[in-house]
Amino acid sequence: MVEAHGGSETGGRQIRKVQLDEREDFSERQSYGRRVVTPVRYSTDPRDVGWVRENIPCQTACPADTNVPAYIQMVLENRYGRSYEINRYANVLPGVLGRICSRPCEDACRHGWPGNGAPVNICHLKRAAADLKPSGHRITENLFTPSGKRIAVIGAGPAGIAAAHDLSMLGHDVTILEQEEEPGGMLYYGIPEFRLPREVLSVEVRNALRLGVGLRTGVRVGKGEGEVRLSSLLQDYDAVLLTTGCMAAIPLPLRGADDGRDIAREIPNVEYGLDFLTELHRGETKTVGKRVAVVGAGFTALDCARVSLRLGAEQVTIHIRTTEEYIPVTKEEIFEAKREGTKILGLRTPVGLITDDSGRLTGVKFVQNRLGAWRAGGRRQAIPIEGSEFIEPCDTLLIAIGQKTVNDILDVEVELDRWGNVQVGEEGMTSVPGLFATGDFVIGASTVVEAVGLGRETALKIDTWLMGRVRRKRVVKIEPIEHPLRERSFDFIPPQHMPMEPMKSRFDNLVLEAEKGYDDALAKEEAKRCYLCHHKYEIDTDNCIYCRACIEVAPRDCIKLVEGVEINEDGSYGALAETNQWDRVGAIWIDNNECIRCGACFMVCPTQCIHITKNEIFYQDV
């Protein structure tokens, strides 16, 4: 039927188009606490919890448990302020992570699944929420009554800040001790300014600490002269939280250098990337030679390379042990580095440093590798090939092969695991009562968002330990939605590119931000691409007449004739059992994993038996 294109002929409903762009901004109104009241149900049923886990992949992938679809929907509705708040609820540094997050959510995004195109630029939208929130935006905090408990947090890195904020919100009296002059940890001393402007960082850090968190910078905890003893802190405070992260570079293991000496530290033009960056951000002037070699495969390595280019290096090469495929850095980051002129060469491990008579480095000796067995997190082992050594000449060598924790600050007996990290139990506590630890200090070098997530998690655990009961429960909040907010046409919008600083001007200085951020139009367009996976489409089987009108308009293989459903041992749903045999079809059911929330079925259902609900994770105070 050619004439039957578009529109809804079958269904009982009239489409009401939502003119997203013409919505007014509600974020102020939010801050006055007036909300449209809608009926709500809170559920802890494993099937609902499981649904959220299965169907909101971005949130599931996020270590900080960020409610991604909710904040993207707010962007759609032009409520950047609200969007920022939803972000801030999960992680107190949205503006920061909006720039430098490792984006596990985007790898998980349903829009990136086979046949669905490219993932939504979730991170760029997070930044947009931070950048575009109204100038007069007010932060909302729901505070518990003061508990009278005192907590010391050691280290003002992402984990420490996140924990400190949540703890003080929970009514405790928190003090942070930080050895550096500025709070932020790796955020301040590790990440170059062209990726993370310092004013963004400091504003969000200060906001996080505004609930009366005491910040004592330049204070070292340790056994040395004029250093605060951990043991004394344990006496003065009800609880102490260690979030000192991994601030020590892992030394370069060179052949024949097993006498414990670290040759690398003895050669002038060889540096550890971590120190290189830290010193740079402490304000020291750093220089590099014409040809810079970087060994290592993490963000630090890439940062070193890109900083070197800005310091005037002519040829920068990153040497990695495996291959690009397997290094834990976002593809964008790699592409930008290459675009700026960095070369990345794979399958090689440094085995020796070549120096001239004056003791300066002239080249690095590498051995050729081949790929070996798989390691955790999709990484690969590199197996050196005997006798395949070769020499790469260079003027500066920057080593960024990893970081580790520093435990010599502990003056009390704490159980360590075999990597020398402190061990923590289920309740987040070390073997020492009242001494908690979290972040990289526990799991080893990881990402910022993991640190924030852990900090937040541990804060709750400390609260539970201190108060003797759980005061915050994770439940599913279910609200009805009147009609679909999306249109099929949204699915064809291409990913919106992040506006970049032109190549010419990038290298002028070290602080010029390379990514410019979305403007309102770009953000809205990108936000439209989000499937809003937290919207759940359900068929009321009692009213279904099995007419398949919904199936006919379905854009994908998303509505199915079902005879059964698997139940996982945790009580959540598994795969649907489909059938085409009429006398076995028990129900027509929407496979929410295939569903892209286009709303076509909703419009055509003759018996109006399709309902939409908003399903979100909600932390209930109890």
């Binding site: 039927m1 004439e3 046409s489």
Partner: protein
Amino acid sequence: MSDTDIQIAICGSAGDGTIAAGSILNQAMARAGYKVIAFDVYPAEIRGFGECIACSRITSAQVFSLKGQSDVLVSLNDGHAIAHVPEVRDYGAVIYDDAPISTLKEGQHISAHIKPAQLPYGLPMRELSERATSAAKSRNMVALGYLAGLYGMPRKAFHETITGKFKGKAAAIAEGNVQAFDAGYAEGEAAFRLDFIELGPAPETSSDAVMMNGNTAIVEGCMEAGLETFFGYPITPATTILEMLAARLPKQGGRVLQTEDEIAAIGAAIGAGYTGARAATATSGPGLALMTEMLGLGVMAEVPVVIFVSQRGGPSTGMPTKTEQSDLNLAVFGGSGDAKRIVLAPTNVEGCYRCAGRAFELAEQYQTPVIVLLDLYLSNRLESVSGLGKTRFAPNLSKGLDAWAPNEAYQRFAITDDWVSPRAIPGEPGGIHTVTGLEHNQLGRPKDTPEIHQLMTEKRHQKVAPAIRHADLSTYKRFGDEGEVDVGLIAWGSTFGEALEAMLQARSEGIRCAAMKVVMLSPLPVDAIRSFCADCREVLVPELNYQGQFANLLTGATGCEVHRFNRVTGRPMQVEDILGEIRRLAKVIKTERRFVAA
């Protein structure tokens, strides 16, 4: 540039808009001045399931049938189309959707079946459709647009046709379809062409040539013959006659009524015919079966009425959407008693038009029901027709009251030298009379004496005999080689197109042969058929029924021996099949000759 001869098959599931796409293609190309012969095959379900094929042959010179192999196959539904991939010629194109929405097993996608010599053209039909109209249902327009873009078909003609098609519907609908078409067109234009299919320039067409199918031609004939009343009941494939007349007849003061059934339809038509108005109805085999009782009344009461019958697969409900020529017996003999009637079977669309018009003349002149016998293939087949409106059908041929010597009492069924009685119609002074279904005398009074029944039966048969020489109606015609030939074909109805095509090809292969079309099946032009058979070493009668109803008819009437060639596939006769039969016969003749020579 070479002459155009492109055959395009669009294949999909009912509901994909397959037939709609085909008809737009035909109309648009005709509008652009090409010759088009087209035929659709579709199932009874309205939506969703059965297989549909819209097949169009677009040429610069007139042809008489479809080709065995298509140049392009457009798949709107791989499930159905896969089976038809082998019907595409070498270096022909297969156009399909390369972005289906559900996971397929190996071989479920058409690309797995395209032969090495054929050329794949994939495009994301559904996606383009959704982009253009945010619905998947204009896939057919996208595919059509792609086809048009690929071969540089005149875009404007398509736009006009599409907008025309949706006239009266919401403007958005037409726009949406045009958008979808353009979306496809752009893709097609941009596509990298590898096939060697050429669209030549449009031929010079005589200004009055128009594209139409058999049913439309029937309607044209009715309109021009000044049809006054029409009664009908929907039945595939005759429904469109009723639909078109419902829309058009009122425009010139005629009246159309959709009755509650065929019985009522022909009843009303006979009533109207009795009053002297030009009256008709249209149906298919099953409807005709219902009508035979009323038909008998029409014969008996000598009421002029025209019945258009488009045959479909039978018996019973049979194959409503498949073609067949199996209602000949019913049309010629159907009904109770010796019910002689006139039966015309046009062989092409233009013939439909002429027969429709002449049917009313015959009905009036011989005061009897006239059946015009089409079949689904002819009803739906599109051809370009010229000479419309040139033929002046006689407005009234009935032998009226003025032909009666006034000094005697009027006899409605008086015996005259041409067996046709002067006919008075209600309202005429001095013509008062009664008609009845009972056997009757000259006055029309019931009478069943042996003499009367003998006489009146003879009257009802004799009066129609001269119909075979009716002015401006070729009731039969010979084509091909003159004089003695090896193989002669006699065909009727839609099949004659294929027969002619086959005969022409056979001649080009050096076989001496001729073909004769027989348009009037009752009464039958016996002498002409006899002399034709006399000229032929072998006579071949191809027809779309199992019994060889026409072969039976003419053998019975002429005593000539013929070879029967019968097909009941529900599809039109294949030129290749007939040709094969001709070759076989020719071969036999040759060997006989050699044998004689030796």
